[in-house]
Symmetry: C2
Subunit: 337 residues, 2 copies
DNA sequence: CTGTGGTTTGATATCGGTATCAACCAGACC
DNA sequence: GGTCTGGTTGATACCGATATCAAACCACAG
């Protein structure tokens, strides 16, 4: 008797059933402590009886508040971001907020379109993985006045808030770690740096480490490759083909290191005997490969959690200023180095 | 001069600047062909000048149409779903729609909560990966009257539309494939089947294949394991520890097969010499492992694409009836079997 | 010059809630 | 009793767009 589709149940229907005004229904649902227990009970029953599902569109329009957060990722398919999404999602759900996801495809114009779309939906806040934005995107965000968290790297010029680890420091630490282990010729493979601040930061960290060690940077040992397993294998082969081979390769991107280790298996090369291999991300696979691969433990999940928390805090009006959160990373030494 | 935050720009501001009514602005933006070219131009300029960003909340409320689609996945972290999400996302974006994502955590109650949340936001349609729903969830959907696509498996009793491959047929095909290759004792490892229709369908397919081959099902060769690399390794060890070892193991879930192959590498077991290994999903890693692993090519991306397309078609009012789309899978024979 | 039909535009009500402020009530206090 | 207080409740005006219907306008046929 309550299932026929077609008629949407409005708050006024609940109000009628509970013999109160819509305003009281609204209060009973949103601020129950401001309604007498008896009425609260009547409203709850009426909600059940008529099968009321609140219309957040109307609510948000009227209150000028929204419970949606927009997240823009470079790529939805890249599983590295999954942990961050999960962190964001968990925190938001607990707070009764909802998550919208869009993809920037590694391009600022696509990011701008995504941001515009979110602002049209009047999201309460934005989480952006990229730190490079079009001028128009920045203008849109500024004008909308929504809080924003950037995630990709610890940019010195954040729009608003940043939550990340330092790509530069992480790359620097791993490079120094490899040097400490005795490797003399350490190669670095990154994703194309042109449109990718993260890759640039990692390269900078690598250079800084070598400089501190008073070693020259050999351009022949720095390579940029597209993402992917095959790509990692190819990078390794190219480097090993050089007149003066590296004795260690630091794959600072994606699953490149996995591809390289698998290629070593195929060639029968010993890791780390013939060449040591280090990775940048703690995907579980790295721990199970043969040999297990030295890598960095990055706070992917925590980035999501903290980003969402900071947004929520800002929305609740408690915190005001911009903020930068520098999360810790950690080196996991395994048999591959 | 147009950047000060605080004042939100409304359609009436555009109207004033363009010297027309809000209704004409609305038309110029949504149905430009119904506005004279000259006015259309004036409105476009006014939009630029005042920096107008439409409020979709108001628009959707008024028109009773929405451009948001809700997607509920068992797990956001599981990278298997990424391809589907990508497919959905691409199609929606092109159509000017937006994607909201929530997680059911493999539980119908969590799914119900997610669905309720989406309906409160008045999504235009839903895409659900699970096919098991609470009664209340079904009621909510029915009453809301939104189109729904289910994805997980080809359920015989869909809520509305289904887009999937047949888990049963896929498992059956792979089992027969292994038999054809000459394997006599074929083991099956799945995820826990209790709350997972997909696992049950795969088990059913395996049983059906054996029945057709007039072989008995040996319960000692059927195992249920939680997801994960370590889990796959352990499953393999358990099976190989049995008095009568399997000569082939079909890992019908997640990354179990990867864990198993890596364990074989560690033990120095030859694949497929000591034991053949087959997987269920075409993650690229499987092609690069040593040996490369026989598996199924599943239409993950296409499921997303078709799901979104069917929703959009329904929303545009063209199609009316329920529908089931059975997408093709394919066996990829590699060196591991 | 009038009538007809098609196109372009605007006035107004409405979508389903919330903000705001006023009304009401019981008890405390003078 | 009168006044004040705090706690509940409701009337009403929005929030920012779109649906609907009517008016204005235009060209052209009769």
């Amino acid at each position: 008797m309550e299932e026929s589709p077609g008629r949407t149940v409005r708050m006024r229907d609940v109000a009628r059933a509970a013999q109160v005004s819509t305003m009281t229904v609204s209060r009973a649902l949103n601020t129950p402590e401001r309604v007498s227990p008896e009425v609260r009970q009547r409203v709850a029953e009426a909600v059940q009886a008529v099968g009321y599902v609140p219309n957040r569109l109307a609510g948000s329009l009227s209150s000028r508040r929204s419970n949606m957060v927009g997240l823009v990722l470079p790529s939805i398919e890249n599983s590295l971001f999954a942990a961050t999404v999960k962190g964001v999602s968990d925190v938001l759900r607990r707070a009764g907020h909802h998550l919208m996801i869009a993809e920037s495809g590694y391009g600022p114009e696509a990011e701008e379109a995504a941001i515009r779309g979110f602002l049209e939906q009047r999201v309460a806040g934005l989480i952006l993985h990229d730190t490079l934005h079009t001028e128009e995107a920045v203008r849109l965000i500024r004008r909308a006045g929504v809080p924003v968290v950037e995630n990709g790297t610890l940019t010195p010029t954040p729009l608003d808030m940043v939550v990340s680890y330092s790509n530069r420091e992480a790359a620097r630490a791993m490079t120094r770690h490899l040097a400490r282990l005795g490797y003399r010729r350490i190669a670095l493979v990154t994703l194309p740096a042109a449109a990718n601040q993260r890759s640039r930061d990692r390269q900078a960290g690598y250079r800084a480490a070598l400089a501190e060690l008073r070693r020259a940077v050999d351009p022949a040992l720095m390579l940029e490759m597209p993402p992917g397993l095959a790509s990692g294998a190819e990078a390794l082969l190219r480097l090993m083909d050089r007149p003066r081979r590296p004795d260690a390769v630091f794959f600072a991107g994606d699953v490149l290191a996995v591809g390289a280790v698998l290629e070593c298996q195929r060639r029968g090369w010993s890791v780390p005997g013939d060449v040591a291999i280090a990775a940048f991300d703690n995907i579980d696979l790295l721990a199970h490969l043969n040999p297990p691969v030295t890598t960095l433990r990055l706070p992917r999940h925590e980035i999501g959690v903290r980003s969402a928390e900071m947004l929520l805090e800002r929305l609740s009006g408690r915190q005001t200023g911009p903020a930068a959160v520098d999360l810790r990373f950690e080196i996991i030494q395994r048999a591959s180095t």
